[in-house]
């Protein structure tokens, strides 16, 4: 039996769990044990089945083509004339596929997803039964949507998952909906994502218009078969519009504002959705649709520039935040920027590689922060933490490992992926990719600065949280404790993966295959290969590569050293405070996140609301006014004719009436109102008539 023929079971399992927990467990208030068993079963089956199917596929099928299965016909939209005058049917199937990219994504999403389900069992245990069921229903639903997203074999099915994860994100951010700011954050996330989806939808339409199909394999083949560059314009349009979607989902400039707010959700949610999986969907999508970008230098450059700028921009904000989750959120935005930077230089595989390693260490970091917040009784301000190392050793060590990984220290996971990104960007500058070499050099230097900042703010976080003395007061200190095993086990597993996860992408030149590393070779068939002009083939020499590695290590080391000086040696953070005083504007700018939120609120949000109010006024006054005006004109003219009618027309009628009125007064007297009287009149009348008759006849 071919397990991967039923790949749609992978998203289906968690869906069933979600349905059960949402409609049965939540409604009837079933026990936590039931709820968590079902939820873990849903996520666990997806994990086991997903891995089994992928492994079986790996050993049986040809990796160069996507293996697609159709579950059922979804939309039959009839025929449409497309570019070139031919006709194509808008038939969209609910079909799913296995290919190297989906395989990698399924591999880590199901696994990390399951771990976070497990972690949630411990983390959410204090919730009431029904909320607990609601939480797991949402979490399972999220797994369904995310797995649909990565296994879908055409753009609309991907879009189903795309919007689905957005919905779950909305629901989970607003999980504590009694708090206004949680609800507002959820709404913000959804609407900002929708702005991105707007671009995505248009991209789908353009893709159908140009290619007459929305299947990934079909699009790939169409692009691969286009040797004359006919589709260059199409690729640019579609690539840029898809990237608008990715900007929204993956929180890049200018749509990154929702992600920091999204931290209002429970911490495992932040780990799963807002770090490891959902936000990387944009990267996945760009990698999946790489053929559009490969064909379009403009789109590539846009992706790279936005990614690179976001990487540094978000990192600078992360430098001064005091909320532990906010720091991690901006770190996530920054890391996503790195991924797009990689995609923007054509290194889609490296981007995916960083997605995977980032999922390990960032999930570990978020779960660790959750463990910390759990211990501190919900406190998220790092200024009220400190010295937690001795209370929660497991959390500390796993957290430290993940921090080293994100900082990019050899041989931890982050080192390999981040270094590879830096190398590829440098190579893009070196090889004058698409003749934009200068820009890529600039982006590379930004990325190096970003690496310094990353190391700094992450170690700042570690030092503030785990080292020094506890600053949260006596009362809170009593409650400090290590978390239960359901929470620490995922931490340990993810910690280990943060160490060894990078080995799937050990640089090729270290083991004799200068062209490819392991993951690179595996994902190779997914990418459409193009000649990018310039001398893109040119590789920096071995010495230069080693030099770059040394540079990136030095950058990380410098960041750590700075953090050490400011936040470890100096227990009271006096020097950091002085620095802030010396540059008050810069400090305020960073602390307030460049006032981007305020800017958007004042312009777009307020502008829309004002416009809405204005239109409503117009609607009530002008348009409805016209209708009511017509009414007034009618009523007014009818009043006038009423007057005319009363005085003139009716006057004549009344004149006639008056005559009869007067005359009738006289006749009225005849009416005695006495029945026998009338009879008498009748009889005498008849007698009279008879008499006359006789007289006349005589």
């Amino acid at each position: 039996m071919k397990l991967y023929d039923f790949i749609w079971l992978v998203p289906l399992f968690p869906l069933l769990g979600a349905v059960f927990n949402g409609f049965v467990s939540n409604r009837r208030g079933l026990s936590k044990t039931t709820t968590q068993s079902v939820a873990l079963l849903g996520a666990g089956l997806a994990w086991i089945y997903g891995w089994a199917a992928v492994i079986q596929w790996f050993f049986t099928e040809d990796h160069t083509r996507a293996y697609s299965v159709t579950a059922f016909t979804w939309i039959t939209g009839g025929n449409l004339t497309i570019a070139g005058g031919s006709t194509a049917a808008v038939d969209i199937a609910a079909s799913f596929q296995v290919d190297p990219l989906s395989a990698v994504m399924v591999g880590f999403v199901t696994f990390v997803g399951f771990l976070i389900h497990l972690y949630s069992v411990g983390y959410m245990h204090g919730e009431p039964d029904r909320d607990y069921a609601r939480y797991f229903a949402y979490l399972n639903l999220f797994m369904f949507a995310m797995l649909t997203l990565i296994t879908g074999s055409n753009l609309p099915v991907l879009f189903v998952g795309w919007e689905g994860v957005g919905l779950c994100s909305y629901l989970l951010i607003g999980f504590y909906f009694e708090k206004d700011w949680c609800a507002a954050a959820g709404k913000k996330a959804f609407i900002v994502n929708r702005i991105g989806d707007f671009g995505f939808l248009l991209a789908i339409f353009f893709a159908f218009y140009y290619f007459g199909t929305l299947e990934f394999q079909g699009l790939f083949d169409a692009m691969a078969g286009d040797h004359g560059g006919h589709y260059a314009t199409a690729a640019t349009i579609i690539g840029l519009l898809l990237f608008v979607g990715a900007i929204g989902k993956s929180a890049q400039i200018p749509l990154f504002v929702w992600l920091p707010d999204a931290m209002a959700g429970p911490t495992p949610v932040s780990a799963l959705i807002h770090a490891a999986t959902m936000v990387t969907a944009g990267v996945y999508m760009v990698a999946r649709c790489n053929y559009f970008y490969q064909m379009s230098p403009t789109a590539m450059l846009t992706v790279a520039v936005i990614g690179g700028v976001t990487a540094v921009f978000a990192a600078t904000i992360g430098l001064v935040q005091n909320d532990i989750k906010k720091v991690l959120a901006y770190s996530t935005v920054s890391q996503l920027g790195y991924m797009f930077l990689a995609a923007g230089v054509g290194a889609y595989v490296v981007a995916i590689f960083h997605v995977v390693t980032h999922a390990f260490f960032k999930a570990c970091l978020f779960l660790g922060s959750g463990s910390v917040i759990h211990a501190c009784g919900g406190e998220q301000d790092m200024r009220k933490m400190g010295g937690l190392k001795k209370y929660m050793p497991t959390t500390y060590w796993t957290f430290l490992v993940a921090t080293i990984a994100i900082a990019g220290i050899f041989p931890f996971a982050g080192f390999f992926s981040k270094d590879e990104i830096l190398a590829k960007v440098f190579a893009a500058g070196y090889g004058d990719l698409n003749h934009h070499g200068g820009v890529y050099y600039l982006l590379w230097s930004l990325a190096v600065i970003g690496a310094v900042l990353t190391a700094f703010y992450m170690f700042r976080l570690v030092f503030m949280t785990f080292h020094g003395e506890f600053r949260g007061g006596e009362e809170a200190e009593h409650h400090l404790h290590e978390s239960p095993w359901t929470m620490t086990l995922p931490l340990q597993i993810l910690g280990v993966l943060s160490i060894v996860g990078g080995f799937i992408g050990v640089p090729g030149f270290l083991w004799g295959h200068p062209e490819h590393n392991l993951i690179d070779r595996f994902l190779e068939p997914v990418v459409l290969h193009m000649d990018h002009g310039g001398h893109a083939g040119a590789h920096p020499g071995l010495g230069l590569e080693l030099g770059l590695i040394a540079l990136s290590l030095a950058a990380a080391g410098f960041g750590i050293w700075m953090a050490y000086r400011f936040y470890f040696v100096d227990r009271e953070f006096v020097r950091a405070g002085k620095l802030a005083e010396r540059f008050p504007f810069a400090y305020k700018l960073l602390l307030n996140k460049y006032w981007i939120d305020e800017l958007y609120a004042a312009t777009f949000v307020k502008g829309t609301v004002k416009l809405a109010d204005l239109l409503w006024e117009i609607d009530a006054r002008v348009i409805d006014g016209a209708v009511n005006g017509a009414r007034h004109v009618t009523v007014g003219s009818s009043w006038l004719s009423g007057i005319f009618d009363l005085r003139v027309v009716d006057g004549l009628v009344n004149l006639v009436g008056r005559f009869y009125d007067v005359a009738s007064l006289q006749f009225r007297r005849l009416q005695v109102g006495f029945a026998q009287g009338y009879a008498m009149v009748m009889v005498f009348g008849a007698a009279l008539l008879l008499g006359i008759f006789f007289v006349v006849n005589l």
Partner: protein, 100 residues
């Protein structure tokens, strides 16, 4: 020998009795009965001439009159009840609300 003249005279007497009853009696019920008397006077006349002229139409007409009389009696009694409800009396001269 009794011939048509006798019937006509009898019928005339009956009709006049009825007519006077209708005109002078105050009791509504009596007025109604007088009215019936007038009907029957006419009937007698019709049957007498039907027999005399050997024409069945007269008898048919008589039966038709009886039917109408029955309906008339029903309506009349209904009016009486209505009058009693309204004025608590069967005296006809009390029913003068329509006086002009």
């Amino acid at each position: 020998m009794i011939d048509a003249t006798h019937y006509v005279v009898l019928s005339l007497i009956l009709f006049c009795l009825g007519l006077i009853g209708v005109m002078v009696r105050r009791n509504f019920i009596t007025v109604l009965m007088s009215l019936e008397l007038m009907f029957n006077a006419v009937n007698l006349n019709l049957i007498a001439f039907s027999f005399r002229l050997s024409d069945l139409a007269g008898q048919v007409l008589a039966i038709f009159v009886i039917t109408v009389a029955a309906a008339e009696a029903a309506i009349g009694l209904g009016l009486i009840i209505a009058l009693v409800r309204l004025k608590d009396t069967v005296a006809l001269d009390e029913a003068d609300v329509m006086r002009g």
